[in-house]
């Protein structure tokens, strides 16, 4: 009981530095809980086919956020520790054993744990609910289930139990290693001048090159999903190591350049930055990572959200596509249905292509029929006769008996001029950019080809190879494309009527319906992205706030000396400005570099979700960066203002 009282007393006395620590802890718990809630939410489970991938992304996000939380907690705790060690020194002089000190520390950790867990879980849950209320509206009325799940609760509590255990161990080591008098002094002792860390620099550099290399060389969308996490981890580790090592190296090099260093505007900034780098580096690296994370997540999800319109446009050359399989329904029947529901059909046409066959493509472009192919080799292939091609496009191409036209979609590309369809060898006369009237994208992300074959015989041969078990009459499919106009109600009735035909040898797709489904999926994505971004920006704000109040206090004495020695207010303002510009500019610059190297991988990731990379991606990226910079600029302005006031208060 006595120890509990002492532990509580110590917290009360150090509340100025303790409160921000609790705040950081609460925010970290809230953030982690939020992600956990999402992972186990029914909303994510109901995301249809994308649910697994979304969960995978969320789990990756959770790992990153978890790591960040650990770093932030240790970082903020290091400020708190200084004051606490002095107190421990006093207790130790008064006759407490080291084991008693550890006991006090343990009780304190338990208290902080209880406080942050309770407040964090509550705020996390409330925040998540609020966000979902808000965003469900944005995304278009689709509810997104999120309930208080036990596994999420257990995971979060277990994780933070671990985090606080780490903090306790850090405390115990500090207590065990130091002598009583050192404990008393520990508040006074400033950081010593940092040494050059070549090892960190080398490892950091290697990890960075490896991580960037992974992104630049990733071959396929599925690989991108798998390797993304590893690349992110490499770059994250590299960022920490390089911020710690490279910053010291650069600043020391600057100090050696006399002409630069001995200028009033650089002198204090450079020597100051160098000294604080040990602590600053971790903070700056975390900020850089948070910023990168925000950019990546926003760019990815926003691209999906905005890219889907583009995708739907490509999937639907017309509003409605009805597959007239086996004459299950005829064009006339469809037309009469359109008329029945007071709709107007326009831009009608039909097109006949084979069913898609799953094939494996070898390196020398040998296509073989297969049930299973590795992700890198799998291709969907379809066939079309030259007659049909000419009729559909009006393109009067002629083909010799061993020639084909090839049209690649979803990233399908031919590199050689010869292809083998089973045993038949063809030379590719032309790689088509498009086939008029044919959808240029599908919801399925597998790379695909349409081959225009010269003769009926060659078609027969190909279909025999690739559709050995399908009834011949069902292989070639005629689709009927047309636009409709009329009221939404009538359109819905029309869809329902078509639906009643379904199951009898016909299928259909309607643009507006697909759009609705996609809205649900990608809206969900975008929503998760916004949730993450807001969380990241909050975490960044918290870190900057923490840096500001903790460092401003320490810097006050220094600027007081500088003022006495003859530094003018203007010069102090300039020095502060350049220090804070470093603080803000460096992470932004680094995150932009990270982002540009991540783009190839992000592009592939987007392809995994059938979002073709369009100009929209870059517009979204530019907008996100602009927004980030604006928000940062505002925080920068507030920070420098507050910091200046804090630092120049002469006693």
């Amino acid at each position: 009981m006595f120890y509990v009282k002492l532990a509580f007393d110590s917290l009360r006395k150090n509340k100025e530095s303790y409160l921000p620590f609790l705040l950081a802890g609460t925010a970290a718990v809230a953030l982690n809980f939020l992600v956990q809630l999402l992972i186990y939410s029914s909303g994510v489970k109901n995301l249809q086919f994308a649910s697994d991938i979304v969960r995978l992304l969320l789990v990756l996000g959770q790992v990153i956020i978890g790591l960040l939380s650990l770093v932030i907690m240790i970082y903020t705790y290091s400020f708190l520790k200084k004051g606490k060690e002095k107190e421990f020194g006093l207790y130790s002089i008064l006759g407490m054993k080291k084991s008693d000190l550890v006991k006090i520390s343990l009780i304190q950790q338990a208290m902080s744990f209880a406080i942050t867990i309770v407040t964090g879980l509550i705020t996390g849950f409330v925040f998540a609910k609020l966000m979902i209320l808000l965003l469900v509206r944005m995304v278009g009325g689709k509810t997104f289930g999120m309930e208080l799940s036990l596994p999420a609760l257990a995971c979060t509590i277990a994780f933070f139990f671990g985090v606080y255990a780490v903090l306790t161990i850090i405390d115990a080591i500090a207590v065990a290693r130091t002598k009583t008098l050192d404990l008393m002094k520990s508040e006074k002792k400033g950081a010593s001048a940092p040494k050059n860390r070549w090892l960190f620099f080398l490892f950091g550099g290697a990890a960075l090159i490896w991580g960037y290399g992974l992104s630049l060389t990733v071959p396929s969308p599925i690989k991108a999903v798998n390797q993304f996490f590893f690349a992110v981890l490499l770059v994250a580790v590299a960022t920490y190591l390089l911020f710690i090592a490279a910053s010291t190296l650069i600043l020391k090099a600057l100090q050696k350049k006399e002409g630069y260093y001995y200028q009033s505007k650089h002198f204090i900034t450079v020597s100051n930055m160098l000294f604080r780098m040990k602590q600053n580096a971790v903070g700056l690296a975390s900020i850089a990572l948070l910023t990168t994370m925000t950019l990546v997540v926003t760019v990815t999800t926003a691209s999906m959200y905005f890219g889907k319109a583009d995708l739907v446009q490509k999937m639907f050359p017309r509003d409605v596509e009805v597959a007239l399989e086996n004459k299950g329904i005829t064009e006339e029947q469809v037309d009469s249905l359109v008329n029945k529901y007071d709709l107007k059909a326009s831009g009608k046409y039909t097109q006949t292509v084979s069913l898609p066959a799953r094939a494996a493509m070898s390196k020398d472009q040998h296509f073989t029929s297969t049930e299973y192919a590795s992700n890198a080799n799998e291709r969907n292939i379809q066939f079309m006769t030259l007659d049909e091609y000419q009729a559909a496009t009006g393109d009067k191409q002629s083909l010799k008996a061993n020639q084909v036209l090839a049209y690649g979609r979803n990233g399908g590309k031919l590199t050689r001029s010869d292809i083998y369809l089973g045993k038949d060898r063809y030379s590719v006369k032309q790689n088509l950019k498009s086939i008029k009237g044919m959808p240029s994208a599908s919801a399925d992300s597998t790379a695909s080809f349409v081959f225009v074959l010269p003769t009926e015989e060659s078609l027969q041969s190909a279909t025999k190879t690739f559709f050995p078990e399908v009834d011949e009459s069902k292989i070639m499919q005629t689709s009927y494309f047309f636009n409709i106009s009329g009221s939404a109600k009538h359109e819905e009735d029309f869809c329902n009527a078509l639906d009643n035909y379904q199951g009898q040898n016909m299928s259909f797709q309607v643009k507006s319906m697909t759009e609705k489904v996609m809205n649900g999926i990608y809206g969900g994505f975008f929503f998760i992205g916004i949730l993450f971004s807001i969380s990241f920006i909050l975490a960044t704000g918290l870190m900057i706030y923490y840096k500001q109040i903790s460092e401003g206090k320490a810097d006050q004495a220094q600027f007081e000396i500088l003022q006495k020695v003859g530094m003018s207010e203007g010069e102090i303002k300039k020095t502060i400005r350049s220090q804070i510009i470093w603080l803000f500019g460096l992470p932004i610059a680094v995150s932009l570099i990270h982002l540009s190297f991540a783009m190839p991988m992000i592009n592939k990731l987007l392809l995994a979700f059938s979002v073709p990379v369009t100009g929209a991606v870059y517009v979204v990226m530019a907008m996100t960066i602009l927004l980030m910079v604006t928000i940062y600029y505002i925080i920068y302005k507030i920070t420098s203002h507050t910091y200046y006031k804090q630092v120049t208060e002469l006693n």
Binding site: K189, G190, S192, A193, Y262, Q263, S264, F267, S271, N272, L274, F275, R276, Q558, I561, L562, Q563, K564, V565, G566, M567, S568, E569, G570, E571, L650
Partner: protein, 251 residues
Amino acid sequence: MTLLAVNHLKKEYKSKRSTQKVLALKDVDFQVNEGEFIAIMGESGSGKSTLLNCIATLDKPTAGHILLKNDDLANLKDKDLAAFRRDHLGFVFQDFNLLDTLSVKDNIYLPLVLAKNTKGKEEKLAHLAKQLGIEDLLNKYPYELSGGQQQRVAIGRALITKPELLLCDEPTGALDSKNAADILNLFDECHENGQTILMVTHSSLSASHAGRVLFIKDGTVFHQLYRGDKSEQEMLVAINEAMTNLLGGQS
């Protein structure tokens, strides 16, 4: 020739909470000649630090004038104050006030860098370092030094701009007697080289090195003592006597 003239200086503070004013300096009046070594003595709360802050332009007097080489400090604009301090004054503080983030060398260069006057800094430093006996410490950092060494560095920083007036606030307050004696001898040397020094202290031993001692009590100059031909020992006795009789006797 008069370097510094303090004319009827008055300083009032308004405390934040109450409207009651605290009178720190009532009426202080004295002159300092070029090349003089003056000590200002007084108990805690006598106003000596306030006086020093006013002379250092860190604080503004309520009434009265301070003239350095016949220029009134009150005429200086706020934005010029820092430059003024940098160019005309040197500071030595009780707790050294070195910047931990700068090496010893850079700490001494600091005023030159701020004044954008870094030409020939190496020669100036070499000369000072020899005089102060810190030649071996130049590449170390302040936290690696003892108190006495730190104060030497601080003196180096104060003197490198060749200031007209060296202001010292309890320069030996944080030092042991051996180091304190060394630092005082350094001041003596500087004084012999023609440096004008104004030192605020409540240590009779420190004051005994000065050529003149002013005693401050309740915001006025209460008494002053000239050294004349007295030895340091005799001066110390005289100061202690004055303290006992004048300051103690009054209360």
